[in-house]
């Protein structure tokens, strides 16, 4: 029994429970939240370490052998995702300590946050398709509550769309699970992989695969299913936006990659080509959406959509290099995008707005923030030698090797447009207004020259994440080796299946 594997699930669960028991005791919850997030990150690191050195880790919950009980399982892909989730959990927790308002903290911010982490981690480790559904729901309900926490009108409005569309997605998911179970009589994913590989009704399997594509496509915010995201991500407090941006859609992408490498591989000529087309369209529509925006967080929100396209591009290519690129991209993106949201929050704390034309002059007054913005912004656009470049490069190379020139061209063009909209933020919020009065106007409600409170713990994670971005970019090889191995595990699921079910008798 691998304690790290269990800890990845148990730590956020127990932290959430502890925070619930400490209801209304704000200081206690802050301490618990920080300790829990740290321990969780530690557990995920331990998990990745053991998976990388000892191979796929499994645990049969309740000691019932697979496929009868529920298996939790971590291959390299899961472990990488868990580590990044753990890192974001810790980063955003530290950030929250400085940025979250006391009322929201009193009304369950920390328990909800850890339930969210629980759901995300559970989804990464689920070895059972129905269990995956359950963790999705855990994650969703926590995100619902976090999204509305504070009850401002914009939050409520955004939440209506977010909740409705995600419930539709859950309904698709549940429908697909029901049919899958009806066809095969099993829920364990490894067992399903075996059953589906010798199915008598391949057409039906493809149909169910498409249902999963729609269900997870909504969660992952692909074209044309992404509408909930730009409608809601800019409404809650920025720490919430940041953790959403980092993790939620990526769980959808994770699920897409998982089921379309493990379960639905009977008809790659159709399904994976379809995914490739969706990838290209997602990139393009997302970035165009961003170009049309004039508000810091809205631009960032649309960019998430665009970037999802890259993440599933590697899945569509369905080659080791492509998938390795996808996983690399996800890792890079989570770090970078979370960081950008965190930075937008600092700008908000300093200026009291997210509207670009009202920000202005940050370059002069906050050179450090400017530099910190440039790192993730350029990385997002794929400017070398930051992390986004290596990510994009591997996908482009994989695309060229597969002679998918159209999607490669789209990917590169979208990269340029991403750069364009990042420079828009830069020019408006940082360069502009150097001489104007707006630069001298402090945030409403705070005395001139006084640093708003909490900035230190807001800056800390930003600095660390920026450093990680640079490090991943300059020394991409270790991470790439890891994602390459993860991709090979995905493309040859025998090891996964055997780890869960035991070697075939």
């Amino acid at each position: 029994m691998n304690l790290f594997l269990l800890g990845t699930l148990l730590v956020p669960l127990l932290t959430g429970i502890a925070c619930l028991l400490a209801w209304r005791r704000r200081t206690t919850q802050r301490g618990l939240g920080l300790a829990g997030a740290t321990a969780h990150f530690g557990a995920t690191l331990g998990l990745l370490w053991t998976v990388a050195s000892d191979g796929i880790q499994t645990a049969q919950i309740g000691a019932w052998p697979a496929p009868f009980g529920i298996t939790i399982v971590a291959d390299l892909f899961s472990a990488i995702m868990a580590v990044v989730a753990g890192m974001m959990g810790l980063a955003v927790t530290v950030y929250s300590l400085g940025s979250m308002d006391a009322r929201r903290e009193e009304y369950g911010y920390y328990p909800l946050f850890h339930v969210l982490l629980l759901g995300v981690s559970g989804a990464f480790l689920a070895g059972d398709i129905f269990n995956l559904y359950v963790w999705f729901e855990v994650m969703l309900i926590a995100s619902f509550a976090l999204l509305v926490l504070g009850g401002e009108r914009a939050q409520i409005e955004g939440a209506i769309k977010y909740v409705t569309l995600n419930l539709i997605s859950s309904a698709f998911f549940l429908t697909a699970v029901g049919i899958l179970y009806g066809m095969t009589g099993t829920l364990n994913m490894a067992d399903l992989a075996r059953a589906l590989s010798r199915t008598a009704a391949p057409g039906l399997v493809t149909t169910v695969g498409l249902l999963f594509l729609v269900a997870f496509g909504i969660k992952a915010a692909t074209f044309p299913l992404f509408f909930w995201l730009p409608a809601s991500y800019h409404t809650p407090p920025v720490a919430t936006s940041a953790i959403f941006a980092g993790l939620l859609t990526k769980v959808g992408v994770y699920a897409l990659i998982r089921v379309f490498t493990l379960l639905f591989v009977q008809d790659p000529g159709f399904i994976h080509t379809l995914i490739l087309v969706i990838a290209g369209l997602t990139m393009a529509t997302g970035v165009l959406g961003a170009v049309a925006q004039n508000e810091f967080r809205r631009i960032l929100a649309f960019h998430i959509v665009s970037q999802i396209g890259y993440m599933i591009m590697g899945l569509g290519l369905f080659t080791p290099l492509g998938l390795a690129g996808s996983i690399f991209y996800i890792t890079h993106h989570i770090i970078v995008k979370t960081n950008l949201f965190l930075i937008s929050g600092i700008a908000y704390r300093l200026r009291g707005t997210y509207v670009l034309k009202d920000l202005g002059g940050l370059y002069r007054t906050q050179p450090a923030l400017a530099l910190l913005f440039l790192v993730p912004a350029f990385s997002l656009a794929g400017v070398p030698p930051l992390s986004g470049f290596a990510a994009k490069l591997s996908l482009v190379q994989a695309g060229l090797a597969g002679q998918q020139y159209a999607v490669v061209a789209t990917a590169l063009a979208v990269g340029l447009l991403t750069l364009f909209s990042m420079t828009k933020i830069w020019a408006e919020a940082f360069w502009k207004g150097d001489t104007g009065e707006s630069a001298a106007t402090p945030r409403p409600g705070s005395a001139a020259g006084v640093r708003p409170r909490g900035l230190t713990s807001m800056f800390m994670p930003v600095v660390v994440l920026a450093a990680v971005t640079v490090a991943i970019g300059l020394a991409a090889q270790p991470l790439f080796t890891l994602t390459w191995r993860a991709a090979e595990q995905l493309l040859d699921p025998t090891a996964y299946i055997n780890a869960v079910l035991g070697s075939p008798r």
């Binding site: 669960l13 959430g16 919950i61 309740g62 009868f68 929201r104 009193e106 009304y107 369950g108 909800l112 339930v115 629980l118 129905f130 359950v134 963790w135 855990v138 309900i141 509550a145 926490l149 009850g151 401002e152 209506i160 409705t164 569309l165 429908t175 049919i179 009806g182 066809m183 009589g185 099993t186 829920l187 009704a201 039906l204 149909t207 498409l210 249902l211 729609v214 044309p224 299913l225 509408f227 008809d267 959406g289 049309a292 400017v383 070398p384 490069l393 591997s394 482009v396 190379q397 060229l400 590169l412 340029l416 364009f420 420079t423 020019a427 360069w431 150097d434 090889q477 790439f480 080796t481």
Partner: protein, 768 residues
């Protein structure tokens, strides 16, 4: 060599602190690095000049074919010396140009970053590493153009340069990656020997076009030239360094580097030569329509880049030598002219030739430097550029097939240079000094040093080319030609056709200069179409079209109407599922076991009627009640098919749901009918299709169904191993207790969510 490339980046990090520590001497201090590098590269001259090449390789990201490999041959050395040598003067100049600027540290930092990137670009062996540095030069150029960032023009120009070169960068990346695929290696040193295979490959033409796109945008070739004059928003040292002496030549470098790999074919010759010649003429002409010194110089730079490109397109040995000589000469005189223009602005307060005049008295050093440099621009006198021009003419006149076209073009181009040289070399300095320039004074040493050294350098190299120019030109031309021919550079080649041509261009050029005021007037009336339909206008239109496309797409997709989102999702799902069911599924006879009994039919009807009532009811309570009926009906189904736990739970949950709905919406009025007939019809169709598809799926599943050995296992072990007789409950609390744990977490979280929604509101205080 690796240290040499990386040192710029390291110092760039330290520059702001360095400036703080050294104050006004910062420029001189930072110049020590490029100086040291110049010495280092200079020391390699003997070895490389003799035909050697150096190769260094470090592992970087082998999985992506990226290794940090450097390759130093004659071509690379020529550029490295230019970058570091001119860089030394530029850093000294920058310290004097921006002495009190609080952001001098950032400026020098960016400049150092650029220098490092540029060195990396010309020394990179790995094409991806080359691209990395290529992009870094674009990025540092963006920040340097936008250095005076409070000016909207500076920001726009910075963006324009970034986007135009960015498009090229993207093309270049694609091009080199394809090249790597076709050539089987990403190392230039390897690819250099595989030109024949690559040129024969079907992907050759796309590769060529992509690489050329990269080179042309970077080197400001028509129709991408417009970003370069706009980039004159940058502080003058930047214009001199990036936008004249080095960065814009990266495209030329690329063409030279790719010549052995991609060059020599008909498309290459046609494309590169034509674009180069057109750029040469366009740049020369447009230069005459400006009065701002930096603008004039920018356009003459465009013309010079065109000339270099044209020469590389021709691909002969003469042309290669001419290209390298001209490139070297241009870096010297154009650097001197730009810096001189900056000194003028510093000393006299203006860069407009119409407002300048008679400054030779007050600014003698600047005048001397600018005069010499202008001579070089004109291509006359004892300067290196004269040699370059003679070589150019010889090369053009020697090549037979294109001579008829190129010779007149080169004649015109030279004449235009002469005219431009006269404008920048005479206007500000000769004649009488306008009154408003009475305060003009000579620039400080840091500002005159650069122009003087560069202008003098051109003369020294022109008089004694064998010291420096010959080995460099020989070695770099050898890189282009992949064979070594000693370049014999001399000022005097004796009377030959080239000299006659030269003389003709001088006369023509002076005539143009005399007619300049007239030309400007009449041109002002005739070039309106340039601002209306010229390439920079295309750029603007492109941006507008982009934002129009972005906005209309977003309005269409992200409309704010939830039901439109749902419709798009449902149509997608319907389409995919319908396609799969019709095209991918083999339909089989459907087993309809067990048979329908009377009470089943009754329950089915009850559920359907309840659902329809819920959909059609005009009152909230009615709809809620109908929902309850559906729930109850489903409970009955569960009872009839052996699921008492389900039935009980379903029933209880349904009751609570109804209570909740009533509690929450008791006070609301009746439904208003909000949608029109068409909308309702549309929704009926969409929903109906979904329902039909689901029904078909269910039927199909029941045929494909196999018995669950999992259920069998549970039946077997429920009592024996799990101590419970209600198998469903045992599954919930034992076999699959993790699901249940998640489930109650959802329930608990939902309760918190409800609590938070109702208790924590902006309008309510924080009363818990």
């Amino acid at each position: 060599m690796t240290v040499a490339v990386l040192s710029g980046f390291v110092l760039a990090l330290a520059a702001p602190w360095l400036v703080r520590a050294t104050g006004r001497a910062a420029g001189w201090v930072t110049a020590l690095l490029p100086l040291a590098l110049t010495v280092y590269f200079g020391s390699l001259l003997g070895q490389i000049g003799a035909g050697d090449a150096l190769n260094v390789t470090h592992s970087w990201i082998p999985a992506l074919g990226m290794q940090f490999s450097l390759y130093l041959d004659g071509l690379g050395l020529l550029f490295a010396l230019l970058i570091c040598g001119i860089g030394t003067l530029i850093f000294i100049y920058s310290g004097g140009y921006l002495p009190n600027d609080p952001h001098l540290g950032r400026f020098l930092s960016m400049l150092l970053l650029f220098m490092g990137a540029m060195l990396g670009l010309v020394l990179a062996d790995n094409v991806i590493v080359l691209f990395v540095f290529w992009e870094l030069t674009s990025i540092s150029s963006y920040f340097l153009i936008g250095f005076q960032h409070s000016r909207p023009e500076a920001r726009a120009a910075a963006l324009q340069a970034l986007l135009v070169t960015g498009v090229g960068g993207v093309a270049l990346l694609l091009g080199v990656l394809l090249l790597g695929q076709v050539g089987g290696s990403l190392e230039l040193s390897t690819l250099l020997g595989r030109g024949n295979e690559i040129r024969a490959h079907p992907l050759y033409l796309p590769i060529l076009v992509l690489v050329l796109l990269g080179a042309f945008t970077k080197s400001a070739q028509v129709p991408f030239h417009f970003w370069l004059p706009a980039a004159m928003e940058a502080p003058t040292p930047v214009s001199a360094y990036l936008h004249s002496a080095t960065m814009v030549k990266a495209g030329v470098y690329l063409l030279a580097r790719m010549s052995p790999i991609l060059g020599g074919t008909d498309p290459w010759v046609a494309l590169v030569t034509t674009v180069g010649a057109v750029t040469m003429l366009a740049g020369g002409t447009l230069a005459l329509l400006r009065t701002d010194l930096k603008q004039i110089l920018a356009y003459t730079t465009v013309a010079a880049l065109g000339t270099l490109t044209m020469l590389l397109g021709m691909g002969t040995a003469d042309a290669a030598r001419a290209c390298m000589t001209f490139l070297l000469a241009h870096a010297f005189y154009k650097g001197a002219l730009f810096l001189g223009a900056g000194s003028l602005e510093h000393g006299a307060g203006s860069r407009d030739v119409d407002h300048l005049g008679g400054l030779w008295r007050t600014m003698p050093l600047t005048t001397a430097a600018a005069g010499l440099a202008a001579l070089a621009l004109a291509g006359f006198g004892p300067v290196l550029s004269f040699i370059g021009k003679e070589l150019l003419l010889e090369a053009v006149l020697a090549q037979s097939p294109t001579r008829a076209l190129l010779a007149p073009a080169v004649l015109a181009g030279s004449a235009l240079s002469v005219a431009a040289a006269a404008i920048v070399g005479l206007r500000p300095f000769a004649g009488t000094r306008p009154d408003e320039l009475s305060d003009a004074q000579e620039a400080p040493a840091s500002l005159w040093l650069g122009p003087v050294v560069l202008a003098a350098g051109g003369v020294v190299l022109g008089l004694r080319p064998e010291i420096l120019a010959e080995p460099i030109v020989t070695a770099s031309a050898a890189s282009v030609l992949t064979r070594r021919e000693v370049a014999d550079l001399a000022l005097w080649h004796g009377p030959n056709p080239a000299l006659a041509f030269s003389g003709a261009s001088l006369v023509l050029g002076l005539l143009v200069y005399r007619a300049w005021p007239t030309i400007r007037r009449s041109a002002a009336a005739r070039t309106w179409w340039l601002s209306w339909g010229g390439p920079s206008r295309w750029y603007e239109l492109g941006l507008q079209a982009l934002s129009w496309l972005a906005e209309s797409q977003t309005r269409l997709l992200q409309s704010g109407y939830l039901r439109l989102y749902l419709i798009m999702i449902l149509i997608t799902a319907n389409g995919l599922a319908a396609y799969a069911l019709l095209a991918r599924v083999r339909w089989q006879p459907i087993v309809l076991q067990p048979a329908v009994q009377l009470h089943d039919a009754f329950i089915g009807a009850l559920i359907l009627l309840g659902a329809l009532a819920a959909a059609g009811s005009a009152s909230r309570l009615g709809a809620v009640a109908a929902l309850g009926v559906v729930g109850a009906g489903i409970s009955l189904v569960y009872i009839s098919f052996g699921a008492p736990d389900l039935a009980m739970t379903q029933f209880l949950v349904e009751a609570f749901t109804v209570i909740l709905l009533v509690l929450a919406f008791y006070h609301l009025p009746r439904f208003a009918r909000l949608s029109g007939r068409t909308a309702r019809l549309r929704d009926v169709v969409i929903a109906g299709v979904s329902g039909t598809l689901v029904a078909a799926l269910v039927l199909l599943t029941t045929t494909a169904r196999r018995d669950s050995r999992i259920a069998e296992y549970f039946a077997e072990h429920s009592v024996a191993a799990a101590h419970g007789r209600n198998i469903v409950n045992v599954i919930l609390v034992d076999f699959r207790s993790l699901d249940t744990l998640g489930e109650i977490t959802v329930l608990a979280t939902a309760a918190i969510g409800v609590y938070v929604l109702l208790r924590l509101r902006p309008e309510k205080g924080s009363t818990p």
